[in-house]
Symmetry: C2
Subunit: 411 residues, 2 copies
C-alpha cells in the first residue's frame, strides 16, 4: 500500500527533493553555433585569440602618428604626407615614418608606426600626396586595439551561461563554430484520467479534452526541454505503470497529468511506488493552487504527478519542474524574467504555512500600475489566458493588503 504522506511546504518539499536531484546532470552535445540560441554552455569558453587580431581604425580617414597632429587647428593645420592606402582585409605592413599617414577605412588595419586615426571630416586634401589635419588626435584615438574586444586566454563566456544573440556573435568572433551545450532535457508527458480525451476527439457527456498536456508541452519548451506526449491512460494501475515505465526509459523526467479524480491520484502514487526507489517523496504541497501534487524519483529520474486543475498544474510546474529542467542543463545565468512591481487592488487572504499564487491583470490607473486579481477557480484555464501575470504570497505572510506592492511575474 501507498504510505500516508503529510502535506509539506514548498521549502520542505525542496529539502526532500534536492538531495535526489542535486547530482543529476544532463547529457552534453556539440552543436553548430547557429543552432545554439537559448542553449546553455556546457563549458567555459576561453578565447584562443585576440579580437581583433590587430589594431583597427573605427573611422574613415588617415592612420597617423598622433604626435604629428599635436597642436593642429584650423588656423594652424598639421601637414601629413599620404604614402598610400590600407586595403580592407590586407595586412598594413609598411612602417609609417614621422609626418606620414595612410588612407584608411573603418575596420582597416593600422600600419606599424601609426597609433591613431584622423577622421576624414577633419582633414583637407591639398594635393594627391598631402593632407592637412585640422584637429589633433590622441594616441589610440579612433582605434580599436588588438585584443580590445577579447584577449587571448580570456574567459569569453562561462559554463552555465544561456546563449543570447550577442553571445553567438562573440563566439563567432573568437572562432567557435561549434559549441558544447547541455542537451535539451527530455520530458515524457502522460495524460491520465477516465474522463480525458484528445483535442481532436468530440467529448461525450462526462468527458473533457486534455488541456494540461498541451500547456505542459509549451512550458517544457520554454525551459529548454523537449516534451513528448504519450497516449491518454485510463485510471488503471497496470496500463499507467506500463506507460510510465516506457516514458522513464525514453526521458529524463516524467510528468503524469490530466485527470483530477481520486482514482487518477491513487493510480499515480501507486505506480510511482511500484516502479523503483526512492518512489514517492512528497504527496501534497501546501501551495494554493496546487496542493494535490505528488513528487517522486525513480532512480535518477523525477516523476511528478501534477494536480488536475490547469492553473494548479502551471503553478507546480513553475515551482518544481522548471527549476529541475534548468538544473539538468546546468543553468547559472539565464534570460531575465519579465516582471513589474504593482499595487494590489484589494485585500487577498492567504493562510499561514501556505503560499499562494495569485493571477492578476494589470491596470494603469492614473499612471500607477495596479494588480487586479483574476477571479475564477483553478480549474479554469481561461483565468491564466486572461491574466497578465502572477504574484506570490510567501509562506510567512497571511495575505496582502489593498495598496501593498507585489512583484508580478508577467506572461
Amino acid at each position: 500500500m501507498v504510505q500516508l504522506f503529510q502535506v509539506v511546504t514548498v521549502p520542505e518539499a525542496w529539502a526532500k527533493l534536492w538531495p535526489h536531484v542535486e547530482g543529476v546532470s544532463g547529457a552534453i552535445q556539440r552543436i553548430p553555433l547557429v543552432e545554439a540560441l537559448g542553449r546553455v554552455l556546457a563549458q567555459d569558453v576561453i578565447s584562443p585569440t585576440d579580437v581583433p587580431g590587430f589594431a583597427r581604425s573605427t573611422v574613415d580617414g588617415y592612420a597617423v602618428k598622433a604626435k604629428d597632429t599635436f597642436g593642429a587647428s584650423e588656423s594652424l593645420p598639421a601637414l601629413i604626407t599620404v604614402t598610400g592606402e590600407v586595403l580592407m582585409g590586407k595586412a598594413a605592413d609598411k612602417m609609417l615614418a614621422p609626418g606620414e599617414g595612410v588612407r584608411i577605412s573603418t575596420g582597416g588595419m593600422l600600419p606599424p608606426g601609426s597609433d591613431a586615426a584622423v577622421m576624414i571630416e577633419y582633414t583637407e586634401e591639398l594635393d594627391s600626396t598631402t593632407v592637412t589635419v585640422l584637429r589633433p588626435v590622441a594616441p589610440g584615438e579612433n582605434v580599436i586595439q588588438a585584443g580590445e574586444d577579447v584577449r587571448t586566454g580570456e574567459l569569453v563566456l562561462p559554463k552555465g551561461w544561456q546563449l543570447r544573440p550577442q553571445d553567438l556573435g562573440v563566439l563567432a568572433g573568437v572562432g567557435v563554430a561549434e559549441v558544447r551545450v547541455a542537451a535539451q532535457p527530455k520530458v515524457g508527458i502522460i495524460s491520465t484520467g477516465d474522463e480525458i480525451i484528445r483535442p481532436d476527439q468530440v467529448p461525450l457527456p462526462g468527458q473533457v479534452r486534455d488541456i494540461n498536456s498541451y500547456t505542459l508541452y509549451g512550458l517544457v519548451q520554454e525551459c529548454g526541454g523537449v516534451g513528448k506526449l504519450y497516449r491518454i491512460i485510463p485510471d488503471c494501475f497496470d496500463e499507467l505503470r506500463q506507460q510510465v515505465e516506457e516514458a522513464l526509459a525514453e526521458n529524463d523526467l516524467v510528468v503524469i497529468s490530466g485527470g483530477s479524480s481520486v482514482g487518477t491520484r491513487d493510480a499515480t502514487a501507486r505506480v510511482m511506488e511500484a516502479l523503483g526507489e526512492p518512489g514517492v517523496l512528497i504527496h501534497g504541497v501546501s501551495v494554493r493552487p496546487g496542493k494535490p501534487t505528488i513528487l517522486g524519483m525513480i532512480g535518477k529520474k523525477p516523476v511528478v504527478g501534477l494536480p488536475g486543475h490547469p492553473v494548479s498544474a502551471m503553478v507546480i510546474f513553475d515551482l518544481f519542474i522548471k527549476p529541475m529542467l534548468w538544473h539538468f542543463q546546468g543553468l547559472r545565468r539565464g534570460k531575465p524574467e519579465a516582471a513589474v512591481r504593482a499595487r494590489v487592488s484589494c485585500n487577498v487572504a492567504s493562510g499561514p504555512g501556505r503560499e499562494d499564487h495569485v493571477r492578476v491583470c494589470l491596470e494603469d490607473r492614473m499612471g500607477k500600475l495596479w494588480a487586479v486579481p483574476v477571479l475564477g477557480k483553478a480549474g479554469l484555464i481561461t483565468t491564466m489566458v486572461r491574466a497578465d501575470g502572477i504574484f506570490r504570497i510567501p509562506l510567512d505572510k497571511e495575505g496582502v493588503m489593498e495598496g501593498e506592492y507585489v512583484n508580478v511575474r508577467l506572461f
Copy 2:
C-alpha cells in the same frame, strides 16, 4: 549614381519606411498545436463548444441539491441518501430526487437535479447508503458550470495573439488540434566586406571573423523569423548584386551586414538602387550607435544595410527589423519584455535631434537599482555581452543626469 541622402531621425525614417511596409503581410500556415508555441495566430479562434460541456465537481464528495443541506451543522447534520456514484468520464444521467446524493470525484459530472457538491471532509458515512452533511453548501458551490471556462461562440483568442503555454492549453480544450498561424518570416543574411572571414577560418593580418551574421541570426529567431546565412561577399558590386538578388527571391527581408568600410557601404547602397523600386529610402539615421544605416525596399521586400559595428547593428535591428518582422506576422499582443527602472550612475550626454542607446550593467546599491553605463566602443561585441540591458535617450533629450530614472530593457 547613388543620390545623396540626408541623415534622418528614427521617427522620420519610419515615416518614410512605413508606407512601403504597412501593406506587407506574411503567409499563413496551418500547423499542429504542439508546434505552435510562440507563433502568432492568423485568425480569431471562436469556440465551437462549451468547456466544460457539463457541470463538474471541483471536489471529492457528494453531488447534492444545495437546499437539502441548508442549516446543516455538526450538531444538526443533514441526512443524504446515497443512491450511487458518478463514474469519471461517464454521463451522470439519473435524476436526483430531494434528499438524495451521489458519490462524485473531482472532475465528475453533476447528475441532473443536483446543483452543488459537498466536500467529503464535511460528511460522515452512517451506513452504505446514508451520509450526514456537517456544513451547508450554496447552489453552485464546488461546481464548475457548463461553459464556465469557455462558452460556445466566445472569442477564445484573437488574431495577432502570440501563443503561450496556457494558450495551447485552452486551444486543446476547445478542440483546436491544428492552428492557423503566421508563417515565420524568412530573413536572408548576407555578410559583406573584404576583411570578413567565416568563424571556422583563421584570420590573417587585416582580417576579422564575421560576428554580426551570427548575432543577427539569433535576433531573427527571437522575433519569430528564420534566418538564412549566405556566403561572405567581398566589396564588389557585381557579386553583391547577384547574392542580394538570390536572397530576395528566397526571403521576405534581406539584411546586408558585416563590414564597416566605405567600400561596403557604397556597394550596399548601389546594389539596392540597382535592384528595383523604390530602392534606397534612408541613408543614415541619427541614432547612436547606428548612424551608417541604409534602409530600402525592393518591391515589397525590405533590404537593410546594417552598420558594421556589432553594437550598432543590434540597435538598428531592434529599431527597424524587429518591428518589421512582427508586423509581417500580424503581431498585436506579444511576449512582455523584461525591463526594469533604474537610476543612472553618471551623467550621459546626448545630442539634440539624435537618440542614444546606452548599454548598462545593473548594480544593487543598498537596495536601490543603478544603471551603470558600459564603457566601450560600438565596435566591441563584448560590451553587449557584459551589459545587462540598454536604455534609450529619446530625440528631444540632450542627455540624462546622474540619479535620473531610466527604463532598462534587459537581455
